[in-house]
Symmetry: C2
Subunit: 475 residues, 2 copies
Amino acid sequence: MNISNARRVRPSAEAIDALRAELESRISEKVSANDAMRAQHANTLTWGLSEPPDLVAYPVSTEEVATIVRIAGAHRAPVIAFGAGTSLEGHLNAPFGGICIDMSKMNRIVAVHSEDLDCTVEAGVTRQQLNHHLRDVGLFFPIDPGADATIGGMAATRASGTNAVRYGTMREAVLAVTAVLANGEIIRTASRARKSSAGYDLTRLLIGSEGTLGIITEVSLRLHGIPETVSSGICSFPTVNAACGAAISAIQSGIPVARIELLDEMQVKACNLYSGLDLPEEPLLMLEFHGSPQGVREQSERFGEIAGECGGGRFTWVTQPEERSRLWQARHDCHWASKHLRPGSDSIVTDVCVPISRLADCVELTKADLIESGIVATIVGHVGDGNFHVQLMIDRQDPAELTACDALVARLVHRALAMGGTSTGEHGVGQMKRKFMLAEHGAATIEAMRAVKMALDPLGILNPGKMIPERAPER
Amino acid sequence: MNISNARRVRPSAEAIDALRAELESRISEKVSANDAMRAQHANTLTWGLSEPPDLVAYPVSTEEVATIVRIAGAHRAPVIAFGAGTSLEGHLNAPFGGICIDMSKMNRIVAVHSEDLDCTVEAGVTRQQLNHHLRDVGLFFPIDPGADATIGGMAATRASGTNAVRYGTMREAVLAVTAVLANGEIIRTASRARKSSAGYDLTRLLIGSEGTLGIITEVSLRLHGIPETVSSGICSFPTVNAACGAAISAIQSGIPVARIELLDEMQVKACNLYSGLDLPEEPLLMLEFHGSPQGVREQSERFGEIAGECGGGRFTWVTQPEERSRLWQARHDCHWASKHLRPGSDSIVTDVCVPISRLADCVELTKADLIESGIVATIVGHVGDGNFHVQLMIDRQDPAELTACDALVARLVHRALAMGGTSTGEHGVGQMKRKFMLAEHGAATIEAMRAVKMALDPLGILNPGKMIPERAPER
């Protein structure tokens, strides 16, 4: 029976002990059944319930991951890969129990090929660890989702972040992965060649599959030279529409912006309050340019002209690191500043992505909806991609607020879909956005995804209860 | 029975007539069984045998494609999508007969969204047709594989070409596709949003699947602003190694080269002979830069310095269109100039791709191998990606030359694989490179590809005999 169709009945303590003993006889590290450890490996960062796994295992190699998966298959036990635990949509919950595979012991940087601008790392390496390692060779890994996530987790959730507009997402950044399939086989999806037309793109199939098609154990990544010069700038606009217009013009005119972030007026207000800033309480664009000294000057000046034409205020830009940090202070503080708007609140963060021409409409309608709902919320957008986040400050103990929040998110998603967008630009599906998948993709596409899932994981042991909706209603 | 496991027995004339009549009763255009038409829709551009389909159909809509596929499924007849017929590895042959789906009547540009820098086109639109259409809105579609291929064919083969180093390949250029699956269902793989983390990446799964997982009928593409200024330049180097070193340095230092092409000395010699040029008969790099006037000047000058440091000659660069054409004359003439080295010969073109750090070695070893074989051949490389083409001038009627050519290609592929590369950077697998797939990917990865194929095409009607090797030897 496919696990995800089974109702969860927690196995007996004896069964769990037996599974644990079998695992420990085959891998080098202890396997934990401790309640605190289990709870730490369940969902922690969203509003869904926490559903801990039965066991937490710490493999030290791809072969050990394969061993765990084979044992899990024999026991029909779910396996859930765990990176840094920073996913936001209940990706890590274990609604059917099973084994959490914590990748933290697999944190070796396997190779850096500086002439090829690539590297290979184990899945448990974090992005900050990698960038620290790369600094001496003048290279960097650009994808920055905010949290210090692991490279494996970022690949599994197709993460991106502020500078995707220039450097792409994990979809573009990953050259190849090593993964363990549900049958315990180890595959390498591609070579380190920059391009290939040799066979199905299993790399991209695994990226964003959230551990439901395989467990990513190693990742080969494209790297970039650390830019000679970085300039950072900010500019206020009277409306979200004007700010988005400037972003569109900048991209259309070919300015290679590295980051272009929108803060709505509520977010700006939150940052003023939290950090003692005196930014005009209007929509704010924050930009970054990468290049030669002359290049970033030209880009910055051209953007300043565009901002002016679009009704924006003065575009202030700087290149010294300390000045850049000060100017971008508001962006770094967004999360905590928002929470500070309602002290003691729980913060829920969700995201959608629309074609950039619809971004202003989508943000404005969402702001109106937020105001009507009475929920305190801020909006920050990666506007170059049409992607924005809504951070909702609620009291998770209040059922009425949870219901209102749920309804708001549903309206947000359906608004984005109606505009030709997607239910999530970068956070992923997990448990929380699974209910929108049919509306987003349609039945035929979902059935194609299900066929792929069934082909690669016929027993349904890989992260069950996530992403693909069940064929029949679950309850 | 899976069609690709069946030996080809050409159906009776009656059976073909019945299939043709059924198709014609359900779609708007005539279905051809004419020998000349069938031959035109088989393999024409490589050294493999030509294996024509039984019938050629011309759908005018996605729904008609779905109708054809459903009828084909009921008859267990193979279906092979046909764009412009410019693929090089026997992709279009019909070793088990069946229906060629010629996409030429599906050549509408469905929508251009200039604010979003994207468009949606039917699969039969060619890249030149699209760029002609886009010129007035100041946008362009950058992928240029040389031939005036269709967008559907380029997506299906994961095509790229000279400016992939800056703009990526079809993998990056496609936002979403509409496709007909083997069961006749029509799917849309994604929205027009620039980013999404909502579900499996069926877009990338179909791109490069060569018609074996679905028939692509519509494609949504990323577009780019036509650059304000383009500069073109050329520079000779004493060795391939020096030329590759300059390419690596340029990319490492972050110069956003738009094209960087290598011609080996034999190719330069061929161009001198054919076009009356007087280029030094040494390895030649040809570059193109896109940007603002100041930007391309800075890029060109910086590259000139790098070329000098790497032992190159003077870097000559120009920005006027006529001068650019003149300077790049040699690149445009490569194919015909090479053929002219051995008048009356047939020309076979193959490609591999390696990590850029291994490119010089791979090219040099390949040149030595070519010299030893006595076959006249030229090499042109998209060096920014580590991808190069070998054009072999042979007599297809001479079995000894065919055997030598076959052995050369096999050695080339195994050399690229041993260097961490791939058997094909952009031409694809088709029939001709299928025998290298196991060596490239290993058995576990091939079995995963096969599982996906079986899940989406259980009857094996979609372009059978291509890409994935049979489990048991075919003969």
